[in-house]
Point group: C2
Chain length 356, copies 2
């Protein structure tokens, strides 16, 4: 496929592409979660300001579903008007009629829409507290397994995307704790590396055992064990695409400890992630598991709208499963980058030109 770049086990990637193209049955699951780590000033761009951050995952879910938000007035964007990557996800899913379900796995604010509810708690600020108790981690994995088993039995390819503000920092901590020398991507072009490293180092000091559940409870968040549980059960039933960047590396690293089927798993993301030399994404994937990465260039650098071009300039890069959704939509419809850009610009214009 000229639209994609493949990394890692290319045989596995090609098999995934052939399988899913011939079946055409995808299901996108959107996991919303929360870590209080995002409340540390300067850590994230998700949401226009720190008071609004907690609404971002719920607002993304509402926008994906309704085309507008209920919890807040406008769709999530940066202070200077760069939109949420949910815009890309929505256009991808709608244009290819891929159904989606939202799963609340520890969000602070629940979307105003029927969602799969797990009753998991939010994660605590890992700079100063344990993220979760051991039994909460265990429940997150168990409930992830239940949801993964249910959803994978309803599709041939389960796509899993996430939204957890501050999640790149907890992902970085989990990767380091599990022995990977990770540099982490961010929704900000000038990644606040020093701040993140400080938080991660504070968190790592509390670790007293190499047990993976212990590591998640000390320095993780609810999303990582929950999505790992989903992957663990779903990958034995259907193909699974982890749709995302750094957070999905942490999922892959933890899931490798609890067991999953590498042969039916891929990571799908944007070229903005795989081209980011600092994050060294594709090498990280290879170190963690024998799972291929597929990346797509959404072509936004050619957009007439600066708000869309900013994605290609290192803002946001990925989130809400945008990359994986675009890949899946192209596999299902045969649409190319040009057609996708056209549809994204139409949606961008619907959202921002008229009233904003």
């Amino acid at each position: 496929m000229e639209n994609f770049k493949l990394f890692g086990n290319s045989k596995s990637a090609e098999k995934f592409i052939d399988d899913t193209k011939s079946s055409n049955r995808f299901l996108f699951s959107f996991v919303t979660s929360y870590t209080e780590t995002c409340e540390i000033p300067g850590i994230t761009l998700a949401g226009t300001n720190s008071d609004l951050i907690k609404f971002t995952p719920a607002a993304d879910a509402e926008y994906l579903h309704y085309g507008y938000c209920k919890t807040i007035e406008k769709i999530p964007m940066t202070p200077d008007g760069k939109p949420t990557p949910a815009l890309l996800t929505k256009v991808a899913l709608e244009s290819s009629s891929i159904p989606h379900l939202t799963i609340n796995a520890g969000s602070k604010v629940v979307p105003q829409l029927p969602v799969i509810e797990t009753q998991l708690p939010t994660g605590k600020n890992i700079s100063v507290n344990d993220a979760l108790t051991d039994s909460q981690v265990s429940r997150a994995v168990d409930f992830g397994r239940i949801v993964g088993r249910s959803l994978s039995s309803l599709t041939d390819c389960l796509i899993i995307g996430e939204s957890i503000p501050g999640g790149t920092t907890t992902a970085l901590a989990v990767l380091r704790a599990l022995g990977f020398d990770a540099n982490v991507s961010s929704s900000m072009p000038n990644n606040p590396t020093a701040l993140k490293n400080q938080i991660v180092n504070n968190a790592l000091e509390r670790i007293t055992s190499e047990h993976p559940y212990h590591i998640i409870s000390k320095v993780g968040d609810p999303m990582i064990p929950f999505v790992s549980g989903m992957l663990s059960s779903a990958s034995s039933v259907s193909d699974v695409m982890l749709a995302g960047g750094t957070q999905m590396l942490a999922v892959l690293a933890f899931a490798s400890k609890i067991g999953f089927d590498e042969k039916s798993t891929v990571i799908g993301t944007t070229s903005y992630v795989t081209d980011d030399k600092n994050a060294n994404f594709t090498n990280m994937v290879k170190q963690i598991a024998d799972v291929p990465a597929i990346s797509v260039d959404p072509g936004l650098k050619n957009s007439k709208y600066s708000g869309l071009r900013s994605f290609s300039e290192g803002f946001v890069k990925e989130g809400v499963g945008a990359g994986g959704s675009i890949i899946s939509s192209m596999l299902k419809t045969g649409n190319n980058q040009l057609k996708f850009l056209e549809m994204v610009e139409k949606e961008y214009s619907r959202l921002f030109t008229a009233e904003n």
Copy 2:
């Protein structure tokens, strides 16, 4: 199919059977709900005593999923040990690998398991209060439509079952209010008819308009508008089987007011419901909509266990989508009554012989 009896539009029923047999993709959705009407002494047998009634839907959902309950110690049963119809549903779904999802639409107690959460309120006691506000009815329909659209896009036949203690009484009230002269079935062999009629008459006195949303708000419950919403959207995407007895008549009656596709809808139930001369079930279906009823005899009268024979003696009769699940499992596997009885007895023995 020798296993089934068909009532009403037989062409439609045969088309449903042919369609689903060739596709074999079923999804069972289990809607749990609550009406305070069930707290009126003497109204229902669901749950061993009135304190436990509120746990019944959650316990049924947990048993379906885990094979045991978390919210209460034992699976729901009558005071003298007659088990919940969830036993039949579980054996049917497991033996045919039909996936299932639980939807909480106004339960008093939420099952300890990931469920689709609608944030709907419980229904009030219609003997003395309005069941719901108008806006709650409207939200129940809207959220039902959302869930129905999502789930029907993941299957070729969406089976909808329910558990709402006291639900036959609210169903009776809704049917009468919508102009149908209904006699209503019950989980008790000596149906407390006088008590139910008194409650229904009290409720009907509060009705001041013929608007169907008004009627539900005065004398209904959260399940009826929610499942009607599901039917309304799902029937335009996939086949839908309403799995149940009296409650599904009320759904059919209200759904006829908000619109649904009769050609892709059937009612599936047990012969214990369709053979009940008092309830006059199949004639009621015909009066309400051009939708066929399919009924199955689970063969429990031949069981060696009196707890199972009691189903055929007029206890319980239906619930938790038992009839529709059995029909679907037989369509998918080709199993007959004898094979089904054998599997049910094995499960009954697992549950009751060892420890109880």
